[in-house]
Assembly symmetry: C2
Homo-oligomer: 506 residues x 2
């Protein structure tokens, strides 16, 4: 990683990557830790990214016939217990509601009162509660498919948390569908994964590998879990979205039955799929540099900031007039599904102003001073280029070309991320090399260390768990595009038919 | 209330209003009760209304400079206790999280485990947790105002619940702002109430009275609570939105301080304001009739359903082709902030099909049969007119005029609601007449019974609570437009300077 002479973020990525990540979030004003254990407050600059992700995904979902709905936050314990693997998977991280009021305790302070007959679990995911509705909605094959999505908060009590990447409460969407046939359900599982891939690559500019999880990494209760995996700049993997084929497991548990066209009673085939605010963590770690956040224009909180330069009071009205008329004109243009979003920052704080916006990752910074106005031009800095590499552009040309420039930035961020991922994805066939690749002592030698290892795996749980124990490395996925290729398991040497993706992961 | 010869909903409004309400929701497929006490599942047809309300409000909020953010679901008990009146107001209806995992109990079933040091309250409202963030965000007058909104779920444990009107969990938006001066905070409180009025009247077609609550009806911890109140068809009031001026109470509790331009340390002035999915209950009860739901076009889940009429198999492809090309053309048009939304229902279920859509309240039903196609026309039914009052319209004219027709329907619904409210809003100056107006035995005589009574009130808590006890009637608000008028309190005869709105309420 290149270390800049003078970086806006301390420490730099090379110095302390995890700390750098926290500092980028702080300086870009995306979110903050809250006093509630493991929860975060998402600040406006961060929430706007989520709103943009929502808008894009929601419109892609709806195009495939999915409709939004909303289901209860609370799940009765008995519901969660309906699917054995499912409850097993979530029991260790459940927020449990046990009382429904507060009353004065013996020492005068308020204490929980009104004990519930049955504890309620704050949803960690909603298969069981939505399945309960589906069981009422579905009675004939004519009622199928049911294609539902909900935008919601969920809670998974985490002991070690990190803003966006792992928080006890997070925001997500969870899609739930029920189908008359197995094939249709599998097709839907893949269709939604394709949408996640499109979101990641075309909007977040974050290249991903699509594949399926090994049995040990499946969603609790799923028959098959498909995923997209991205590479962060510390060369670790981030699971960025999952789509589950649930077979008839949850239909059995929730009694989702229908009468087929042949008048036979059958259980439905269900799927579920979700992405969360974790994507924002992925976004940060894919693109940001030692000067702070870099936002891909298509989901950026805002596209351009106008920075009027007013050195003398007499210039003020002229500069502000030019600035506001430019803002008005820019805001009338469309970029993707939304209009070009423009900030004006006329704070009189000197050079700190420009740096604030660099750290916030806004794609374009436009300086407007009396001399620019005299030339009818603007002075443009792009976040995908060095901070001091600014260009004077004729005002109307800038207006005319802004969406083209934004597209260029989007493309540059993606290309850079693709290159980075390619550079650190390596076919490895020798156990020694594999171990070297994942040994922390080699961390400073990117030429031999870290990233995605494409290696053969025999398919046994045993090798998988030994690798995890020895090297803290997991199989991220069995890629869909891995070719049939004979080889030997990287750990035990037994025969294997294709390569899988090994990596350390968040 | 007019009783129709043959109504689609049983019972009718006149027969059993509360039961009619539940049946309208059921037949229009808006929502259903969930197995979780007091919670509901909002089905796609109902959730789409909420999405439309969100879109309208969100854009109005943002125009005033408000930005969206997101804060934790859980509030530490100690936070809630920071404002004495506030915790007092919510203590009786709090869902309390006490444990963070599940483990096998003595009898083999799962039981709550991992007791929390401090109980967490599932937010009933977020003044205290957002105030905590504000205390970090604000240090100088330059940081003010802070204008924040969050779209979220909240929980208030209710013993008696009704879909949309009163549920233990509901969806809402809650705005929270902090200002440097009292006047600015009061201005913001009013500004947001004006937005709620606009939403109610121009979008939900639901006329409201704007005013302020009496001290006993204020939000716990507020200095002043302003509200909009609507009249339902059973002539009861529905509080439909509130905007609170919180003075410096919550700034004190959460330590939101700033250094003023004069370098003095001061507490900020805060406001909060919210509307919820309760509005959908108001919408149902304002417009629906004995045939089911009636949706105002501006927030309708969908605008028009196309009903191809295919009696012979040979007609099918021609009719479907005409239908789909019409749908495509309609969908390209804009109505308000979104495109015209079109459903196609080609189920072969006879007359039940048309009635399904009447009950669902879609503004326009369009029948398309071979004869219509031969005439290049469509057969249009409007939900604001009798169900058998349908009109043949030339196809292209229908396309050209659809937004005009939708506007007409919107206006008709509003006008009817305004008339209803006017007819049942009465100035009453005699105690006997006042009691008669609110005596349940007179319920069947709308000419003398029920609605909004505009009467004088002395301003005492005592009269207010006696009236509540004797007649189950509350002061809905002190209207902003009530004129200065000398009179005598309707209950005690002491002098009063203006009329207030008395009504039974949800």
């Amino acid at each position: 990683m290149k270390k800049q002479a003078k970086a806006a973020i301390t420490p730099t990525r090379a110095e302390d990557y995890p700390e750098w990540y926290q500092e980028v979030i702080k300086h870009s004003d995306l979110a903050e830790r809250s006093p509630v254990r493991g929860c975060m407050a998402i600040k406006p600059w961060g929430y706007a990214i989520w709103e943009n992700i929502k808008q894009v995904l929601d419109s892609m979902f709806k195009e495939t016939g999915v409709k939004n709905a909303y289901f209860p936050l609370f799940i009765p314990l008995s519901f969660l217990e309906k699917e054995a693997e499912h409850v097993e998977g979530f029991a260790k991280e459940c927020a449990v509601v046990t009382h429904h009021r507060l009353e004065k305790g013996p020492d005068g302070g308020l204490v929980p009162a009104g004990r519930l007959n049955e504890p309620l679990i704050v949803r960690p995911t909603s298969e069981t509660i939505i399945g309960d509705s589906f069981s009422r909605w579905v009675s004939s094959y004519r009622d199928l498919p049911v294609l539902i999505n909900q935008w919601a908060n969920v809670v998974r009590w985490e002991m070690r948390t990190r803003l966006f990447l792992r928080t006890s409460e997070f925001l997500w969407q969870e899609g739930h569908t029920a189908h008359a046939t197995k094939d249709e359900a599998i097709e839907r599982t893949k269709m939604m994964l394709d949408i996640y891939e499109k979101l990641a690559e075309e909007y977040l500019a974050m290249p991903v590998i699509k594949g399926r999880k090994t049995p040990s990494e499946r969603f609790p209760g799923a028959v098959d879990t498909m995923c997209i995996e991205a590479m962060m700049q510390d060369r670790k993997a981030l699971q960025s979205g999952t789509s589950h084929f649930l077979g008839q497991n949850f239909a059995n548990a929730s009694d989702i039955k229908f009468q087929s066209a042949e008048e036979k009673e059958e259980y439905a085939w269900t799927t579920s799929w979700g992405v969360s605010t974790r994507l924002i963590g992925g976004l940060i770690m894919t693109h940001s540099d030692d000067d702070g956040l870099k936002l891909p224009p298509k989901i950026a909180s805002s596209h351009v900031v106008l920075l009027p330069i007013i050195r003398k009071l007499k210039d003020r009205s002229k500069v502000m007039e030019f600035t506001e008329s430019l803002a008005k004109e820019l805001k009338e243009k469309f970029y993707g599904l939304r209009r070009v979003e423009v900030e004006i920052d006329d704070r009189d704080i000197g050079g700190a102003r420009g740096w604030d916006w660099i750290k916030k990752g806004i794609p374009l910074r436009v300086e407007i001073g009396p001399r620019d106005i005299a030339d009818n031009s603007v002075f443009v800095g792009r976040r995908d280029q060095e901070h001091n590499n600014k260009t004077s552009l004729e005002r109307n040309r800038f207006v005319a070309e802004i969406t083209t420039i934004l597209d260029e930035i989007q493309k540059n961020l993606f290309d850079r991320a693709v290159l980075f991922k390619r550079q650190h994805t390596v076919k490895i066939d020798e156990t020694g090399r594999f171990k070297e690749f994942f040994t922390p002592e080699n961390r400073e030698k990117p030429e031999i260390h870290g990233g995605f290892a494409l290696s053969h795996w025999c398919g046994s749980d045993e090798c998988e768990s030994r690798i995890k124990e020895d090297l803290s490395v997991t199989i991220r996925c069995i890629p869909f595009d891995s070719e049939n290729e004979k080889g030997k398991c990287i750990y035990c040497g037994r025969p294997s038919t294709n390569r899988v993706v090994f990596a350390k992961a968040y």
